[in-house]
């Protein structure tokens, strides 16, 4: 084996040929895994299919709204729907989610109105929902910061003494492959481990941190990092909504019953650009995208439903119509979203606004008013 002195060790086969936990093949065939039995009724599978289609449509609409100048930016979840819906539907009401800025599918599972997700991308606010109401924290833009908040929150759950009871909750921290290089993510692994905190670390490895491929972040598969911190790690087919649901359910249940953290690496692919300002043609091959298209998370559920006679053409049509209708509502809602009042930027910086801020605000108000007087 030769070592390239600049690039380090040669690519390890494990990095590129993962052992995946899979319950549904890309062709829509159900497979069993001894550790993750999953018994889903037809209604449940159809509900998952609906989730997947709707969040993809919402996402597509948000990309379009960005192209039309209605949003300043959008971080598309295209390709990652199964990872988000599978893990999102594993959550219970007492669990608390700490998302990145791409978790639109999880937000959907937590009943956050899609329009509310647009606020920060339109620039009318920095996050427009009440986290406690939804068990879904605000989007965090600094990479990895939220993993520590999730860990601290989990330490709070421990201190509340509810673990093992029906009102026990766990936290789930979402982050990407790039974030695993952040100090905060590694510190959250340390804290979660030594305090045995009830947390699931859900890493969507979508292969690309903007332009940097996984080998710029790690020489070993990401799920193997967990072992070094002292808790289990596993890699799931992130395009398989069944498998994502099953492994997250189990990890959450372990957390809620005091068995500590789990790292789940959902192996998936960012089919779109990092955000609407990004251009993936500069750094990756079309062939790679084409290969991942064959593993589409929605097509395989559709194939499963058709193959097992669990849904007919009418069902698929109905879901399409519903998704279209939601997209239309989103489009209209977005365009109608009012700009915030200039003076509102002074609100909620502190619980009570202090004297110098009040003075600043009053001066600014007077300045703004002077233009109105001029106009008269």
């Amino acid at each position: 084996m030769t070592i390239d002195s600049v690039r380090g060790a040669p690519d390890t086969p494990e990095l590129t040929e993962p052992e995946l936990i899979q319950l549904l093949t890309p062709e829509g065939e159900r497979v069993e895994h001894p550790d993750y039995p999953l018994d889903l009724g037809a209604e449940e599978v159809r509900a998952l299919y609906r989730d997947l289609v709707i969040v993809r449509r919402i996402d597509l609409e948000a990309v379009a709204l960005t192209r039309q100048g209605e949003l300043g930016l959008w971080a598309s979840l295209l390709g990652q729907e199964a990872a988000q819906i599978g893990s999102g539907r594993a959550l219970s009401e007492h669990d608390m989610v700490f998302p990145t800025y791409r978790e639109h599918g999880v937000a959907w599972c937590r009943d956050v109105e899609p329009l509310k997700l647009l606020g920060l991308f339109r620039g009318v606010n920095h996050g427009g929902w009440d986290p406690a109401e939804h068990g879904f924290h605000l989007y965090t833009i600094v990479i990895g910061s939220q993993t520590l908040h999730a860990t601290g929150y989990a330490m709070g759950i421990q201190r509340d003494g509810v673990l093992g009871t029906p009102s026990a909750g766990a936290t789930i921290a979402y982050f990407g492959d790039g974030a695993t290089s952040q100090g905060d993510v590694n510190e959250s692994f340390v804290f979660a481990s030594v305090f045995n905190a009830p947390i699931v670390f859900f890493c969507q490895n979508n292969q690309w941190a903007i332009s940097e491929p996984l080998e710029k972040q790690s020489r070993i598969p990401l799920y193997k990092r967990a072992q070094g911190f002292g808790f289990p790690g596993l890699r799931v087919d992130g395009n398989d909504v069944f498998a994502c649901l099953a492994v997250t359910r189990k990890a959450l249940e372990n957390a809620r019953t005091g068995q500590g953290p789990t790292l789940i690496e959902a192996y998936t692919y960012r089919m779109g650009a990092h955000t609407t300002t990004d251009d993936p043609t500069r750094y990756r091959l079309k062939a790679e995208e084409e290969a991942w298209k064959l593993k589409d998370p929605i097509e395989r559920v559709k194939a499963y439903l058709v193959r097992n006679d669990l849904a007919d053409a009418g069902f698929f049509e109905k879901i399409e119509d519903e998704a279209k209708r939601m997209a239309k509502e989103l489009r209209e809602g977005c365009r109608a979203m009012p700009d915030p009042q200039p003076l509102s930027m002074f609100d909620e910086v502190y619980a009570e606004r202090h004297q110098l801020m009040t003075e600043e605000q009053e001066q600014f108000a007077a300045y703004l008013a002077s233009f109105e007087e001029e106009a008269k």
């Binding site: 605000l138 520590l148 860990t151 929150y153 804290f191």
Partner: protein
């Protein structure tokens, strides 16, 4: 009344806060069994248990980041950063998360987190153990920044900070930890947290200080008095929010002002004070506001710190210069 050191007064204040509210937690490096490297949390783990007085892994960002999570769950964490120069690994969590969460949530979230930081020089320490990083934090909207200069304030201000619904950066003047005073542990008749205090009334020059520099300024005022100069010394106590009215009232009377802090003068908190005072007291000023502080260098090796730190003579020199204008 009890005679307490500043360090012990903080300890008693923390103890009171933990007694009053079971949601108050203390966390940091070595705060448990050891009681902290300065013993500020001495005995708290023994009395309140490991669940409430948490010895954390050695990772400052992790400490503040998990404190944020605990606060989101309804706790009131009091975080100890072991030394001023070690706050920087946590600066990201403090500046991008702790300070901004309320506004990000349109007021839905409060983060009642106190970050205690022993600050300042004068103890002969190695690099990174003598710094005064307050301006980094006063520049960050969403944080409250306070500092105590004596045992009485230490006891009350730490409790007031813990009650605050907003995050508070709490600077403790480490070389004053061993200063003693009479503290009434049963009183809650405290000066409001964000109010400055005239600690020595005077007529000729207003001297503004906070934290460890307050004592130095009082010594300078005593020396000046022997030469017939009457200095009014104000302990700002709170840097953000700033009690500008107390400052303005004094400078409008004296017409002269010297600001003293240990941090470098360039872009230091004194610059903000000088600008504000100039704006508000322009026609009353007999001379420009002068600043005495650290030089535009990193904190020097401790054998040089007596030259670097503002002392009585450098303060009096600045006072003289306000008359020479």
């Amino acid at each position: 009344m009890s005679t307490l050191t500043l360090g012990k007064a903080l300890n008693e204040g923390l103890r009171k806060a933990m007694d009053n509210d079971p949601k108050v937690l203390v966390m940091g490096e070595d705060v448990g069994k050891l009681g902290g490297v300065f013993r500020i949390t001495d005995g708290l783990q023994k009395d309140f248990g490991e669940e409430r007085v948490i010895d954390t892994p050695l990772a400052e960002s992790g400490i503040v980041g998990t404190a944020i999570g605990l606060a989101l769950r309804g706790y009131r964490p009091v975080v100890e950063i072991q030394f001023d120069g070690f706050v920087f690994p946590a600066a990201d969590q403090i500046i991008t998360q702790l300070a901004k969460m309320r506004m990000r949530s349109l007021g839905a979230l409060s983060l009642p987190v106190v970050v205690r930081i022993p600050c300042g020089g004068g103890i002969g320490a190695v690099e990174h153990h003598s710094e005064s990083p307050e301006a980094y934090f006063t520049h960050t909207a969403g944080l409250r920044v306070v500092t105590c200069s004596n045992p009485v304030d230490a006891f009350s201000m730490i409790q007031q900070s813990i009650i605050s619904p907003d995050p508070v950066i709490f600077f403790e003047p480490k070389r004053r930890y061993w200063d003693k005073a009479e503290v009434d542990l049963d009183s809650t008749d405290w000066t409001p947290l964000h109010q400055a205090r005239v600690v020595r009334p005077g007529e000729h020059v207003t001297v503004l200080a906070y934290g460890p520099a307050v004592k130095t300024c009082l010594e300078a005022a005593a020396a000046a008095a022997e030469e017939g100069r009457s200095l009014e010394v104000i302990d700002l106590r709170s840097l953000n929010p700033l009690d500008i009215d107390t400052v303005t009232a004094s400078v409008n009377r004296t017409g002269r002002c010297v600001v003293v802090h240990e941090a470098p003068v360039f872009s230091g908190f004194g610059a903000e004070l000088a600008a504000r005072i100039t704006e508000r007291c322009f026609y009353r000023l007999e001379s420009p506001v002068l600043r005495v502080g650290g030089f535009s260098t990193p904190y020097p090796p401790s054998r040089l710190e007596d030259h670097y730190l503002p002392d009585l003579d450098r303060i009096l020199d600045a006072v003289d210069r306000t008359f020479a204008w």
